[in-house]
């Protein structure tokens, strides 16, 4: 419970942080630091328990169906890292107020720092693989946002840091999945308890590699180290907290956590030691090359983390103890050095050690603190850094395997540590020794120095009294290795190999320091051929190019280019299916009648002509012909409703097409011969596949059970005798509602599409196609309209009402009414808006259909038709709510037709005054 309270308290603090920061400005760091200390104290109340071998645990159900739980657990290892997160966090928050400026806003920074602390704490407490991954990613995101907060120059580094560490996060996710597959649970306690289950599974090497990838990306090891020096664009408190003390230790934590499972795997040991030691030496050499204090410290962090990872690779209790101690020591001296670098930057206005010099005279306290931290880093007694290095040497010498490996590792470490010594002194010497170049500087205030002074002093005090850390380190090792451990840390180990190695380190370091001019020249002579950031950028631009290459076929405005690919896929699929000779039944009745062939022949001619014609008006006529033939085909197939619908749609399509063609050139663009041949070949193939598929797969069975039911029961269930219509409005009303909604969208879309489009005035006014005297031409149609329109409307109404029993219904009636509108509209000049307003029809129709459906709820379900009888003057009329639903359908379809005439005829609304003169001009041009 206490663990959840701690996390929740941090969340609450994070939520309150912006409010505190907007009230107190930069000084908000102080109350937040106090909050961190209080939360840390709360956690510390359980520390004695934990150190005695107890654990604090919390297990809430989270996703029980997949066995994932919100499982937190505090043991020695978690306690070590938690103390760093909260302790260093409090120091950094206390450091922020004097570091930050007074003019900017700091709400975001304080909130993100607190949220980061929460995520990091969650990471080290999580006891479920999924939870671990979630907190891991949260720390990555917090780091990204904190780096990116430094302004424009930080965009690229922040993105690089995100991609590298989030890539590692994916590796962690993969490792978590494989772990849970091999162990059968995501509960880390269960997985740790019996390492043999995982280690004996064939997935073990893959899991180990994925965990190592996750760890070395987070902890900035070669070859992924480059994001960390980049991340130094972030402000110094962020660098000190995330990129020195805590976030980058996430990888260390992960490796230590999984040590019980993998420590005895040779590959684990070899890989970690090789990567760790290489990174330690290369990182230290890079650090020695830097002039910028923060870059130097960043490479130093890379190097030190390599050192710790190599120790984890050794995998013995002694090595883990050294790793744990050095993690602690490193957090102390590196956070101090970062904070001091920030102070120097603020006071002297530069972080370049070539521009600094002799600051010891003007800033003696800062100089002393830097000296303390640098000495601890260099591994000189009696600092804690010396003890952790001694421990490390003795652990390395006992590396499992042949004796020479231990010596090789130890000597490599001596080289790395010698370089560390050298750059440690370089920091101090570069900034504080030599002639004083800036004499007007002052010591910063004690409040600025104090947060850096505490860890600097701790490095010395804990070095002298290192025994107090024994319980924590022992517990950490016990929890890490699951073996008994009795760490006996002491400053003086007696004479032995470790002491010799320490002496050797100091000698190497002194040599490198005093020979710094030749060393510098040697280091700067060799340029690195390819930096990590370059490699990253090449990878990014390469992947963008790859994507662009893959997307090439789709980058075209030609419709054919987009249709060709799915079409080709369909063709292959269809051809494969036919080639497999599906076993099909014989149709129950003969499917072909002699007069069918007449339709097929005419259709073939009409379609061929439609494909070959070069004038648009011929194409429209032929399209109408095809449509009529299809309508006739439906009639032959026993579907009079379909035939009627098809014929009416064909009429309206032709009207609409003519409206559009009016404004387009009379002929199509020529199709070039190669294109014609290629597309014809594709078309013939598609037609063949479609015909074969239809022949083989359609209608080869008895009539469906649904059909039999409908034919026998439609009258009884719905009162209607036109079965197709009863299907539309009674049995499958919801389908119909969906379909008319599509129509409504098409109609409204059309209204929106052509709103205010400019008249594409393609035709010259004196062109042969320009209409002759429109008024004189229109007398006969106008007169005809007077007769035809009332008749058509009457027919439409009749069709609507009888639809339930005879051919007709809402769709057909609306199309007839649409024809009436067209007849009315054509002679009136297309520049007049129709009297009917499409949106009202469409919305009204939709509302009516939906309301009718809701009425059906009275009988238990949406769209259930209600039946009733109405007696008028002795005559009994049966009524059904299907009619009002059909009326809704009618209105929507009519609305869509009206919108087509409205928009395609005029191309704009009358609401745009700018349009009117142009229309008038068009009219004059024609007359």
């Amino acid at each position: 419970m206490i663990l959840a309270v701690v996390l929740l308290a941090l969340v609450v603090t994070a939520v309150a942080a912006p409010a505190i920061a907007s009230r107190l400005g930069r000084n908000a760091g102080y109350p937040l630091a106090v909050a961190f200390l209080l939360i840390g104290a709360l956690l510390a109340t359980r520390a004695p328990d934990v150190l005695d071998g107890g654990t604090v645990s919390l297990n809430w159900e989270w996703m029980p169906s997949i066995g994932v739980s919100f499982h937190l657990h505090l043991d020695g290892l978690s306690l070590l890292f938690a103390s760093l997160v909260l302790g260093v966090g409090a120091l950094i928050l206390a450091y922020c107020p004097r570091y930050l400026g007074t003019s900017e806003q700091h709400q975001r920074l304080y909130m993100l720092l607190t949220l980061f602390a929460m995520s990091m704490l969650g990471l080290v407490l999580a006891r479920d693989l999924v939870l671990l991954f979630v907190f891991w990613e949260l720390t990555t995101l917090a780091s990204f946002l904190l780096i990116g907060g430094a302004g424009r120059t930080a965009v690229q580094p922040a993105a690089r840091a995100l991609v590298v560490t989030a890539g590692g996060g994916l590796a962690l996710l993969a490792a978590a999945v494989l772990l849970s597959i091999s162990a059968g649970t995501t509960n880390m306690s269960v997985i740790m308890a019996d390492p043999s289950v995982v280690i004996e599974s064939p997935l073990a090497p893959a899991i180990a590699v994925l965990l190592i990838i996750a760890a070395i990306t987070k902890s900035a090891q070669l070859p992924f180290h480059f994001w960390l020096p980049d991340a130094m664009v972030a402000i110094t408190p962020v660098s000190a907290y995330l990129h020195a003390a805590t976030l980058v230790k996430g990888g260390i934590y992960l490796l230590m956590r999984f040590s019980p499972t993998f420590a005895h795997m040779t590959m684990w040991t070899v890989v970690l030691m090789v990567i760790g030691l290489t990174t330690m030496i290369v990182g230290a050499a890079f650090a020695l090359k830097q002039h910028d204090l923060k870059s130097l410290l960043a490479y130093s962090t890379v190097s030190q983390l390599g050192f710790i990872i190599a120790l984890i690779g050794v995998g013995t209790p002694g090595a883990l103890a050294a790793a744990a101690l050095h993690t602690f020591a490193h957090a102390m001296f590196k956070a101090t050095l970062f904070m001091l670098a920030g102070i120097i930057d603020r006071e002297a206005g530069s972080r370049d050690i070539r521009e600094l010099g002799g600051l010891r005279r003007v800033m003696p306290v800062t100089a002393t603190l830097t000296g303390l931290a640098a000495t601890s880093m260099a591994g000189i007694p009696p600092f804690i850094g010396f003890i952790s290095k001694e421990e490390a040497y003795s652990a390395l010498l006992e590396t499992p395997g042949p004796a020479w490996t231990g010596w090789l590792a130890a000597l490599a470490t001596v080289a790395g540590a010698g370089l560390t010594f050298a750059y440690g002194f370089r920091i101090f010497y570069g900034a504080f020794a030599g002639p004083t170049t800036q004499r007007k500087l002052y010591e910063p205030s004690m409040t600025f120095l104090l947060p850096a002074a505490i860890p600097a002093a701790l490095g010395l005090v804990l070095g002298l009294t290192v025994g107090v850390l024994d319980p924590l380190i022992s517990r950490t090792v016990e929890d890490t290795m699951l073996t008994e451990s009795h760490a006996k840390l002491s400053l003086w180990h007696g004479f032995g190999s470790p002491l010799v190695l320490s002496a050797l380190t100091i000698i190497t370091g002194m040599a490198l320091f005093f020979g710094r001019y030749p060393v510098d020249r040697a280091l700067h002579r060799h340029r690195v051929p390819l930096t990590g950031a370059d490699a990253f950028n090449h990878t990014v631009s390469g992947s963008i190019q790859l994507g662009s290459w893959i997307g090439l076929p789709a980058r075209s405005h030609a419709i054919g280019a987009h249709i060709a690919w799915p079409l080709a896929a369909l063709l292959v699929l269809g051809a494969t299916g036919i080639a497999m000779r599906p076993d099909v039944a014989e149709p129950p009745l003969s499917t072909t009648r002699p007069h069918d062939w007449a339709v097929v022949a005419l259709l073939a001619i009409a379609i061929l002509a439609l494909c070959l014609t070069t004038t648009r008006i011929t194409a429209i006529v032929l399209l109408g012909a095809v449509g009529f033939l299809v309508g006739f085909w439906f009639l032959l197939a026993g579907a009079p409703d379909l035939a009627l619908t098809q014929l009416l749609v064909e009429i309206l399509t032709v009207v609409v097409a003519v409206l559009v063609l009016r404004r387009l050139p009379p002929t199509f663009r020529r199709i070039r011969r190669p294109r014609a041949i290629l597309t014809a070949a594709i078309a013939v193939a598609a037609g063949t596949v479609a015909a074969a598929a239809t022949f083989l797969l359609a209608g080869r069975r008895d009539r469906s059970a649904a059909a039999d039911y409908l034919i026998h029961n439609a009258k009884k269930d719905s009162g209607g005798s036109n079965v197709v219509n009863t299907v539309l409005v009674d049995f499958r009303g919801l389908d119909t509602l969906g379909e008319v909604t599509v129509l409504a969208i098409a109609g409204i879309g059309l209204m929106a599409l052509l709103r205010g489009t400019a008249e594409p005035n393609i035709l010259p006014a004196d062109s042969a196609t320009a209409p002759p005297d429109r008024l004189g031409n229109m007398v006969i149609p106008r007169f005809a309209a007077r007769v035809l329109v009332p008749m058509t409307v009457a027919i439409s109404a009749y069709l609507l009402f009888r639809g339930h029993y005879e051919p007709g219904g809402g769709f057909i009636a609306a199309l007839v009414a649409g024809v009436a509108v067209a007849v009315l509209q054509l002679p009136h000049g297309l520049d007049h808006p129709p009297r009917l307003r499409a949106p009202y029809l469409i919305y009204g129709g939709l509302a009516l259909a939906v309301l009718t459906g809701i009425g059906g709820l009275a009988d238990g379900s949406f769209l259930r038709p209600l039946h009733g009888h109405l007696g008028i003057g002795g005559a009994e009329i049966s009524m059904t709510s299907s009619l009002s639903f059909d009326l809704g359908v009618f209105l929507i379809v009519l609305g869509m037709a009206v919108s087509a005439f409205d928009r395609l005829g005029r191309g704009t609304t009358g609401e745009l005054p700018a349009r009117e003169p142009e229309l008038a001009r068009n009219g004059q041009g024609g007359s």
């Binding site: 439906f634 037609g687 239809t694 209608g699 079965v723 379909e739 087509a900």
Partner: protein, 104 residues
């Protein structure tokens, strides 16, 4: 057999037109493909049963399957809606105006 030919002819013509430049031809092709699919729906009901499915008009054993017909009926009207929308797009300037060379 004839139903398969009707579908095949309509698909061939539709595919040919859809692959041509210019939105008007594409629209025409789309209409043909719509016809093809509606014919396919009707064919799926079985071309052996061709009597109209009105109760009282024909013998129930010969009546055509009303379910695909209902699907096809709404499909015809939806095809009309999409056709009109495509014409609208052509009208709005997406078609091959003479001065504008579309990629192909």
């Amino acid at each position: 057999m004839t139903a398969a030919l009707v579908v095949g002819l309509l698909v061939a013509g539709g595919v040919y037109l859809v692959l041509q430049p210019g939105l008007i031809r594409v629209t025409l092709g789309f209409v043909l493909i719509g016809h093809a699919l509606n014919s396919l729906l009707v064919a799926a009901g079985g071309m052996g049963f061709r009597a109209v499915s009105f109760i009282g008009t024909s013998h129930p054993d010969d009546a055509a399957d009303p379910l695909p017909q209902a699907f096809a009926l709404t499909a015809i009207v939806i095809t009309f809606g999409v056709t009109v929308y495509l014409f609208g797009l052509a009208r709005a300037g997406a078609d091959d105006a003479p001065d504008e060379e579309s990629e192909s």
